[in-house]
Amino acid sequence: MRPVPAPAPDFVVVPARHPGRWVVIAVIAVIAAVVLRSVIINPNFQWTVVGHYIFADIILMGLLTTLWLTAIAMLLGVVLGVIVAVMRISDNPIISSAAQFFLWFFRGTPVLVQLIFWYNLAALYPNYAIGIPFLAPHLLHGSVNDLITPYTAAILGLGLNEAAYMAEIVRAGIMSVDGGQAEAARALGMKRITAMRRIILPQAMRFIVPPTGNETIGMLKTTSIVSVIALSDLLYSAQTIYSRTFQTIPLLLVACIWYLGVTSLLSTVQSRIEHRFSRGHIRRSR
């Protein structure tokens, strides 16, 4: 190595220019303006109709149904999904095949069919009776139709279906956690299930959250399928109106505006959760 040379001659640094970027910005701006203008002035969009219905009671009621159905179905889906995923990777062959069967069945059939099935369980089994053989054969009994209201059917149908999809996501997440973590937990005397709950799952969340965001946003739209069991969500409420007034496009716009709003909200929540679960995981420099 040489003795340190004299200080460097003063170079002037010229930052990298990206002329392409400005062209792209300009083109996008022009296109956006044209599209926006044509959307606003195009009479087919019937903006006055949109304005009339956007806060209509029926739409807001539908939105409410969409929101709570999504919330409950996702809750059930995540909780059951975690359980099924853990069962699926169990060493016990029975537990793991049971989980696999669940996955196969509920991923494999359309949710429409599942809903109709639950709702009309009575067609197959009109009455139920739970009892203790010989002693009290009919401890609890009644009509299946009374037991399964549209709400229970919707929650069962959407929740179980979602659980199957979530199970697959959770499984992938668990597999992505470094094996050393489980090993350390076992060496400390934790039971498998404790290690899963306290050590593996919290770390798997990093991988689980983004696809779960997808599922939640998807569920928001899937709920409209409950119209087959006489429940009316946001989209179906809009459809109800336009089946009478034939104002199809403006009413779909009303639904879209609400969906976009809720989706934006959920995306924000998602990136917060993602941030939270990346705790302790500093990505090495790129």
Binding site: D57, I116, N120, A123, V228, I241, S243, R244, F246
Partner: protein, 269 residues
């Protein structure tokens, strides 16, 4: 209320004092939601309320998507369904009909389209649409058959899941004409974004439409039929049909499963 009619009802319905009817309230003027989106309006709601009054039961109407309708009846969740359902031999194998009116269809086209007329020949080679799984499709097939017989090209048929999707295809110019319920003509013309003209055709048949119950619900079917006859006898039926501008579709002598008991002629292409 007529106590003799009330006595005809099955025990469970009579005791409950409520009869649940499932429908899909998205088909004006059969039934649709009023502006409050709770009340169902249409000639069928008027009819079931009148019959309910005669039978001495309250009618509880539930709107559900069609996919849930028949399973709901078969499972006993809904004792009855009513949704301008047209009667056919095939359907009678699954459910029992109490027919209450005629049903028929019409051809709808944009008023700007001047080539179409009541003559079948003007339809040959055009694009058309109808709701899937409806009898409208049989008419379209018949038109195609006649066109082909006279050496002309047949129709290109698109099927959509709902009446509004069919009409949207017409408005967007995707099809030249559509086939839909004749009863809906007034509503369609009122709400259409572009002027609409309506045509008839000699290939359009008349059908029976009615309420449906599970085949083992003979007693409920008989009671309902009796109720229907009662409102015909006292003139309520006439008033309802007149109110909805459907006098032409009145069924003078309603029966159970009329499509097989007293078949209607099908026009020959």
């Amino acid at each position: 209320q007529d106590s003799k009619l009330n006595a005809m009802l099955p025990d469970d319905v009579r005791k409950a004092g409520v009869l649940t009817i499932a429908t899909d309230a998205h088909y004006p003027p059969c039934e649709s939601f009023a502006d409050d989106n709770k009340t169902m309006i249409g000639y069928e709601p008027d009819m079931w309320n009148a019959i309910g009054a005669k039978l001495g039961v309250k009618i509880h109407a539930v709107s559900t998507d069609f996919d849930g309708l028949i399973p709901g009846v078969q499972s006993g969740r809904y004792p009855m369904a009513m949704e301008c359902i047209s009667d056919s031999a095939e359907r009678e194998k699954q459910v029992t009909f109490i027919d209450n009116s005629y049903g028929t269809s019409a051809i709808y086209a944009l008023a700007s389209n001047t080539t179409i007329s009541d003559d079948t020949a003007t339809l040959c080679g055009l694009k058309t649409a109808a709701q899937a799984g409806t009898d409208f499709n049989d008419v379209l097939t018949a038109i195609t058959t006649r066109c082909k017989k006279s050496g002309k090209p047949g129709l290109t048929i698109y099927n959509y899941p709902s009446a509004d999707a069919v009409l949207l295809a017409l408005y967007s110019g995707r099809v030249d004409f559509v086939m839909s319920d004749a009863a809906a003509a007034a509503d369609i013309q009122k709400h259409a974004p572009k002027p609409i003209k309506i045509y008839t055709n000699d290939l359009i048949p008349k059908l029976y439409t009615g309420m449906v119950v599970r085949p083992d619900q003979k007693q409920l079917a008989e009671a309902t039929l009796a109720g229907l006859k009662a409102i015909q006898a006292d003139g309520t039926y006439d008033k309802i049909m007149e109110k909805w501008d459907l006098k032409l579709l009145e069924l003078p002598n309603p029966m159970i499963n009329q499509a097989t008991v007293q078949p209607l002629p099908t026009p020959v292409p």
